[in-house]
C-alpha cells in the first residue's frame, strides 16, 4: 500500500505544485522517488512529530497541501494536540498518513501497534478518516484526499498487500464499495482485513449463507445509506476491523441505533488489552479472531446453523 500511495502522490504532486510531503525521519527508500523529483516540496522534519505536525500546519497556512508521513502511531498520537488544535481547528489542508496501521508491525511490540488511531482521528473536527482495504483503494484514496480540502487521516497497511479489486475501481470518499451482494449476512470491513473477509465470504457462500461484503474505507464520513440498506435487506451485520474499540464497529452500531434498527450485530475487533507477545501480523490477528475462520465463526454465531442460512 505504501508504494501505491507514493506512486499516486507523485502524480498528484506533478499536477499540483502546492503539494508537499513531510516525514518524521521514516520512509527509507519508499519516499526516494518523491525526494528526487520534488526536493523543494519534501521535508524530513526529524524524529519530532509535534514539530512535524506544527510545520505542516504552518505550511498549510501559507497555502500548501501537506502530507505528513510516518509509521503506526507516530504521526497520530505524539502530536495529537497539534492535529486537534493546529490542523483540525483551523481546518487546514493537512493529510496525516500512517503506514503500518493495525498490527502490520506485529512483532515490533505494542508501541508499534496502531490499534487506537481510527477512534482518535474520527472524533476530531473537520477530519476525514480513510483506511483503504487494498492497494487500489489506497491509490484512489490518496488522489481523492488530495482533491478534498481540509484535514484527513489516511491509515495504510504496509507492503505486499494483494490487490483485491478489479481495476478500475469506482471509489468515492464516503461510499462503501460492495464486493459482492447477498441477503443473509452483511460483512462490513475497513482497512487491510478486507482480504480475509473475502476468503470468509467465499466459504459462507459455499455453505449457502448468502453474504453481502462491503469494504468501508471511509470511516468519516461513514456511508450510513449502505448500512441502512444492509439493515433492511440482510438479516445480520458483522463489522471487521484491525482496531480496538471506537472504530468501525462502534460507528456502525451508532448508525443502527440512531435508525432504531434492532438486528443481530457483532463487532469483530481487537481487545483493548495491549498485545505483549511477539508475532506476525497474521498470527496476532488470528489470535483475536481476525482471520477468515474467525469471521466465519462470528457469522455463524450471529446466524446459527439451524436458521435458513445454514
Amino acid at each position: 500500500m505504501r508504494t501505491a500511495f507514493i506512486e499516486e502522490l507523485l502524480k498528484v504532486a506533478a499536477r499540483d505544485e502546492r503539494v508537499w510531503l513531510v516525514c518524521g525521519d521514516l520512509g527509507y527508500s519508499v519516499l526516494d522517488p518523491f525526494i528526487q523529483r520534488f526536493p523543494k516540496r519534501f521535508l524530513n522534519a526529524g524524529v519530532a512529530e509535534q514539530n512535524m505536525t506544527g510545520i505542516a500546519a504552518g505550511l498549510a497556512l501559507t497555502g500548501k497541501t501537506v502530507f505528513t508521513y510516518s509509521i503506526a502511531n507516530f504521526p497520530v498520537m505524539r502530536c495529537l494536540e497539534q492535529i486537534r488544535n493546529d490542523v483540525c481547528y483551523h481546518n487546514l489542508d493537512v493529510k496525516i498518513v500512517s503506514v503500518g496501521g493495525g498490527l502490520a508491525y506485529g512483532s515490533h511490540g505494542y508501541t508499534h501497534h496502531g490499534v487506537e488511531d481510527l477512534a482518535m482521528m474520527s472524533v476530531l473536527p473537520n477530519m476525514t478518516v480513510v483506511a483503504p482495504g487494498d492497494p487500489l483503494e489506497a491509490r484512489a484514496a490518496t488522489a481523492a484526499l488530495a482533491n478534498k480540502p481540509g484535514p484527513a487521516y489516511l491509515r495504510l497497511g504496509k507492503a505486499g498487500e494483494p490487490i483485491l479489486h478489479q481495476a478500475p475501481l469506482d471509489f468515492t470518499l464516503g461510499s462503501a464499495i460492495q464486493i459482492q451482494d447477498g441477503e443473509d449476512i452483511t460483512i462490513i470491513t475497513t482497512g487491510a482485513v478486507l482480504g480475509i473477509a473475502i476468503e470468509a465470504s467465499r466459504r459462507l457462500d459455499a455453505e449457502g449463507c448468502s453474504t453481502r461484503l462491503l469494504s468501508m474505507p471511509t470511516l468519516v464520513t461513514l456511508d450510513a445509506d449502505a448500512i441502512g440498506k444492509a439493515a433492511r435487506e440482510t438479516r445480520a451485520i458483522l463489522t471487521v476491523e484491525e482496531h480496538g474499540a471506537g472504530g468501525l464497529g462502534t460507528m456502525v452500531a451508532e448508525v443502527l441505533v440512531t435508525m432504531q434498527v434492532g438486528m443481530p450485530f457483532h463487532a469483530l475487533r481487537l481487545s483493548r488489552d495491549p498485545i505483549k507477545l511477539s508475532g506476525s501480523q497474521e498470527e496476532l490477528r488470528s489470535a483475536q479472531g481476525l482471520s477468515a475462520d474467525g469471521i466465519y465463526k462470528s457469522v455463524r454465531h450471529l446466524l446459527p446453523l439451524d436458521t435458513k442460512a445454514f
Binding site: 516540496r41 519530532a48 514539530n51 506544527g54 510545520i55 504552518g58 497556512l61 497539534q82 488544535n85
Partner: protein, 281 residues
Amino acid sequence: MIENDPSPSKLTEADLRGRAATLRAHAVRMIHRAKASHLGSSLSMADVIASLYWQILRLNPLQPEWPDRDRFLLSKGHGAAMLYAALAERGFFPVSELDSYCQRGSRLTGHATSGVPGVELSSGSLGHGLPVGCGMALAAKREDRSFRTFVLLSDGELDEGSNWEAILFAPQHQLDNLVVIVDYNKIQSYGLVKDVLELEPLADKFRAFRWAVKEVDGHNMNELSNVLTSLPMEQGKPTAIIANTIKGKGVSFMEDTLAWHYKSPTDEQLSQALKELGAAS
C-alpha cells in the same frame, strides 16, 4: 501588490510608549469587565507588542489576509487581551469590540482565536506557535518570499518539548526569516521559573542550538527598536530575542507578582491601575 498601510515607523519613542500605555489600559479594562485572568501576562508583553505593531510588522489592516504580510504568532495565547487591543488600535476591527472580550457570543475568546481579523493562529495550549512559525518561515524560504515570521513565546512555555524540537529545526534550515521573542518575565503559572524549571542560561541555550541571540530590556523601546529593525541579526540564522520583562509591568501593585496571572481587578483596583497608566477610567 498591496502596500503596507501608511508607515507608523516614524513614531518616536515617546509615541510608542504612549501606544503601549493605551494597550495596557485596554487590557486592564477588558480583563476587569470580563472578570478574566492573565492580566500580568498581557502587561509584560505590551511594549514588545507596541513595537511590533507600530514599528516593525508589515501589515495591512484593510486586508488582513494580504499574502506578503509579516506573520505574528502569539504562542502564549493567554496574552490575547493585549493582542486584541493592538489589532483593534491598528484598525483590524473596531476598538469598541474590545468591550466584548470574553463575553457571551463574542469572537474575542480568552485565548487568541483565528477568525478574529489579524489573528494568524489560535493558541492557548502552549508550545504550538513556534512549530507552526517554522512551517511558515520554511515556505517563505523555499519560495523566496519576503514575509517574515515572528513568534512570541512565554518563558513558562519553554518547558514544552515541542518548542525545543522547533528550536533544533529552525537553524538546520537556516530560517533567518524567523524571529522568536521570549517574554521573559520570570514567573510561570504556579511559581517562579527558577523554582519550577530553571531556563538559565537561556541565551546560551539558544546559542548552543545555533541561533543568533540578543538579550534586551523588554520595556525599553529603543532596545527593542534597535534589534527589531536590524533583522536578521545574522544571515542564515534564526533570531531569538530574549526580552527581559516584568510581569504586570505598568501597574505598581501587579508588578512581579504571581497572583496577577489569575486575579481580575476590583473596581477600585481598576481605577488605580488606569490612573497609573495615565488613562481615563
